[in-house]
């Protein structure tokens, strides 16, 4: 009843792990899959290793957190070791179990994106292009996702380099997300993930007068950003024809339903693991199942986009 499809992949349910949360190694991602997620998105990585920013990299705020991890990752060569183990059987073959592995990658130019994509194409089911990290080094991250032309170039370059479906993850921190979404679709994106973290924001310690994050600013995530994520999904749903993966502040089944209604084909959950741990996936699946049973719906598919009907 919770089964759905995303870019040709069958999913046991619409819940995926969001990039950047418990996605640094295969072990934690497999744990998330065992906890009920139908897929995981890895922490973003690129060609080279990157240690990211010094701590503090994360600080709690009302309704969520702000973080500036700074895209720390071991580089594609090292990370392949992890990718080989996500949702794979003992022989290294992908389990045919309604669960998928999505690699999140970043880079500073189209070539880097396409190089990394080609390197890992055989190890994952889909690739999510992180062109929207609000705390990336200069030239990476949101600097791309705020520029429709660069978005188009990167998406189309990757699209021409790999055969598996690619997803563009967009930043909400632009005047017009619709324009970027259309560029990504025109570039050949098979799906969009909306939204990356918001702001960025900051927190200042009142005793010392210092910004707490080492990077001063960090992207905001958690339940507080849900209304804004939802609105972006709702808007972009009316401008593109590719599926949307909704992400931003989901903490319970009702939040998932809101995202489905707004036009998401699947959703990602990340920051709420702070409050509820990995068991949040099974919990939401159970509650979502109960909701559907007591509703007039018989599938996830029927729920997608219905807020546009009225």
């Amino acid at each position: 009843m919770l089964k759905t499809k995303l870019c040709g992949h069958r999913l046991n349910n619409p819940l995926l792990l969001a990039a950047g949360v418990m996605g640094s190694n295969a072990s934690s991602m497999n744990w998330i899959l065992e906890s009920g997620a139908a897929g995981v998105v890895t922490k973003s990585f690129s060609k080279e290793a990157n240690k990211g920013y010094n701590n503090p990299t994360t600080v709690e705020v009302t309704g969520g957190i702000i973080n500036a991890i700074g895209l720390s990752s071991p580089g594609v060569e090292s990370f392949k070791e992890e990718l080989k183990k996500i949702n794979k059987d003992v022989n290294g073959n992908t389990k045919n179990n309604g669960k998928i592995a999505i690699a999140s990658i970043y880079g500073s130019n189209p070539e880097e994106f396409s190089f990394v994509s080609s390197e890992i194409e055989d190890l994952v089911d889909m690739i999510e292009l992180n062109i929207s990290c609000p705390h990336a080094m200069k030239g990476c991250g949101a600097a791309i996702g705020q520029d429709p032309n660069l978005t188009y170039k990167i998406v189309s370059k990757v699209k021409n380099s790999v055969k598996i479906p690619i997803i563009a993850k967009l930043t909400p921190n632009v005047t017009d997300i619709g324009e970027i979404a259309i560029s990504a679709e025109n570039g050949g994106a098979d799906a969009l993930t909306l939204i990356n973290s918001l702001g960025p924001g900051m927190k200042i310690d009142i005793t010392t007068g210092r910004p707490i994050l080492h990077n001063k600013f960090g992207g905001m995530s958690g339940p507080a950003i849900k209304p804004i994520a939802l609105k972006h999904v709702y808007n972009v749903y009316e401008s593109v024809n590719i599926p949307i993966i909704g992400v931003g502040g989901i903490r319970n089944y009702a939040d998932v339903i809101e995202f489905l209604y707004a036009g998401s084909s699947a959703v990602q959950i990340g920051t709420s693991i702070l409050y509820d741990g990995p068991s949040i996936f099974n919990k939401i699946n159970n509650d979502l199942g109960d909701f559907i049973k007591s509703s007039d719906f018989s599938s996830i598919k029927e729920m997608i986009g219905i807020a546009h009907r009225n």
């Binding site: 640094s24 295969a26 991602m29 240690k51 709690e60 957190i65 720390s72 990752s73 990370f79 702070l274």
Partner: protein
């Protein structure tokens, strides 16, 4: 509204105890309010916002429930800890926590094994268990006599201390592993708690397994958020987060942690083998 453990408390260093040439204990005022009272084995995130700016997890080595104090014992092993070692009384650090799970008490006769600065969480455990009337034998190991930690404190609380130095300057001459084999010849224990360099803990683990003594081990990994979301401290193959499911793991859990005694990941996630 109770203060979240994730909120920083900017705290003055109230006292500094020079434990050894390379190890100091820093004392801070700490309101022992509901949810903020540390348990033996838990850690704090220590934020240095002047000079070397960074934040690291540090074991709590003193829990002053009655005088509203905590102690954090830090070994000078690098740039960050060196900076902290150069701080003086009255200087400030940002603290958040306490984080993680804690040592449990099972049975009445317990063996506590600490190596080097690993004695920090062991010391709070021993004091706590002694308060509960448990019989505690402590193997306190270090390179040399001057590096032994908390001997007086543990003596005062009524634990039996068995020191052990690599160079034989105090107590048994040799490694903690040998001392453990040794002590097990004479005594039986209901459980053990262990903290020290991972290579040492690996050796102790094998010995305690052979002796069929269930134990709890305190692990350390590179940490970022300490709130269970960044994934930095997740362990192979279970994925357990050192900051949430740990830092204390039982013997049964250790068996599933394939990286125990083998490798750890650095800030970028690259593996480093022991």
């Amino acid at each position: 509204m109770a203060k979240s453990i994730n909120e920083y408390e900017i705290s003055e260093i109230k006292d500094i105890i020079i434990e050894t040439d390379t190890i100091k204990t820093f004392i801070f005022d700490w309101d022992m309010e509901e949810g903020r009272i540390p348990k033996p084995g838990q850690f704090m995130m220590v934020w240095s916002f002047n000079g070397k700016q960074d934040e690291k997890p540090m074991s709590i080595s003193k829990i002053g429930i009655n005088n509203n104090e905590i102690g954090i014992t830090i070994k000078n092993v690098g740039e960050f800890t060196n900076h902290i070692h150069n701080l003086e009384i009255g200087d400030k650090l940002g603290l958040r926590g306490p984080y993680g799970n804690n040592f449990s008490i099972n049975g009445n006769k317990i063996l506590a094994i600490g190596g080097g600065v690993g004695m920090a969480p062991i010391s709070t455990f021993v004091e706590y268990a002694r308060e509960k009337g448990k019989e505690i034998d402590v193997i306190s190991a270090s390179i040399t006599k001057d590096e032994l930690l908390f001997t007086n404190r543990l003596d005062n609380c009524g634990a039996n201390i068995f020191t052990c130095t690599d160079d034989g300057t105090c107590g048994f001459e040799g490694y903690a592993t040998h001392r453990t084999i040794n002590i097990l010849e004479d005594s039986c224990y209901d459980m053990a708690v262990v903290c020290g360099p991972e290579i040492m803990m690996k050796g102790i683990f094998n010995i305690l397994e052979d002796a069929s003594i269930l134990a709890e081990y305190s692990m350390e990994r590179y940490m970022k958020c300490a709130m269970g979301i960044c994934g930095q401290c997740c362990l192979d193959n279970t994925g357990w987060r050192v900051c949430i499911e740990g830092p204390i793991f039982t013997s049964d859990q250790i068996k599933q942690i394939i990286e125990f005694g083998k490798y750890h990941r650095d800030a970028s996630g690259v593996k480093h083998y022991l």
